[in-house]
Symmetry: C2
Subunit: 216 residues, 2 copies
């Protein structure tokens, strides 16, 4: 089974690494980081680069594609080469997945029309504009399309998908291997749970978080 | 405030990226990925490389050092250059931290003598041999030393430390930004919670997980 994780300029690192550290631990599978060009691809903050091992063209038919989000996603919405690759890969994939605003790229490629899907909480409205039916759930499966909420949700998505692919034992072994027994020191992980002033602050920064504007 | 995250051959990616996506979002801070040599550093599975931007020598006095774990840690236990750097950086750091078996490197550098600390659940016994007092907690703070349990615990550690450094508001804003509202699809994240056969299976593989032996 081949997993392809897409990288592009100003992606969010944990969006890619969460699914990687779960799905990528499936025995006898291959995981490839792909991008338009091989070599280092810089993340949203610019101080971390992950290396793309193969070009999109070299990995046309992964069994599972994973599209991370990040502020750079807004520019990729007009990248015909990437959207074409997503459509081509999706045509033969077993599972087509995204984390965070990666679902906007799946939607822009025309794959989420009329489908239940999710995204970063700040991007749910925009997701609806592309024809998807946004839900507030953390991981949404509609047919072969699995979309996850913001950034850290890719870990939950990866484990859930592992369970579908290989059964509970493998998924639980991976969970135990990465000791995923979360104990957040605060209960502020969703706009409903966070203190109102924290949620308001993050809303006021949504144009930066979603990449519509760059912080000066 | 400068954060230095150490990379070395066969580190575990999420050990580094969890603290990165939490601590690294502190306003007006700088995060640098460091290694003995600059350039791509391959992880435990060999199919992902993160780029080290600076050498250890170029970042002698970070305010916070983060030492990830991974199977490659066993080799680093005998790397005098790395252990020397850890000791030097620790001499002036505000916080000295680790994720997973990264705590074994702190211990080997002589920093955890008589201190309460943690590590990956499979490495707690070994941690005790280096003079630390292992606990089963997910994040352990003893003085300026903050150690976290296996792999994914670096996210909890990063948020807890952010709270100490900058207060609850910043930590909660970061938690909301990465939408860290975990919903693991299984409850198998610790050896006590996982089904007995899953725990037994992972125990049987500990020599590979801890890097004492490479899978053939």
């Amino acid at each position: 089974m081949q997993f392809a994780i897409v990288l592009y300029d100003r992606f969010t690192a944990l969006d890619a690494v969460g699914p990687y550290e779960t799905l990528g631990r499936l025995p006898d599978s291959e995981t490839v980081f792909v991008a338009e060009h091989t070599g280092p691809v810089r993340n949203d903050s610019g101080n971390l680069a992950l290396v793309a091992e193969k070009t999109l063209a070299e990995v046309p038919h992964p069994d599972v594609l994973v599209v991370p989000g990040g502020p750079g996603q807004t520019q990729q919405m007009e990248n015909a080469a990437l959207l074409d690759w997503i459509r081509t890969a999706d045509a033969t994939s077993t599972w087509t997945t995204s984390v965070c605003t990666g679902s906007l790229l799946l939607a822009a490629a025309g794959l989420l029309e009329g489908r239940r899907a999710t995204s970063h909480w700040l991007a749910l409205e925009e997701l609806g504009k592309y024809g998807a039916e946004p839900t507030g759930e953390r991981v949404v499966t509609d047919g072969k399309y699995v979309t996850a909420a913001g950034v850290s949700s890719g870990i939950d998505m990866g484990l859930a998908l592992l369970g579908r692919i290989s059964g509970d034992f493998v998924a639980q072994a991976v969970q135990l291997g990465i000791e995923y027994d979360p104990r957040p020191p605060y209960d502020a992980g969703s706009p409903e749970k966070a203190p109102a002033d924290v949620t308001e602050f993050m809303r006021s920064r949504s144009r930066f978080i979603l990449g519509h504007e760059q912080p000066t």
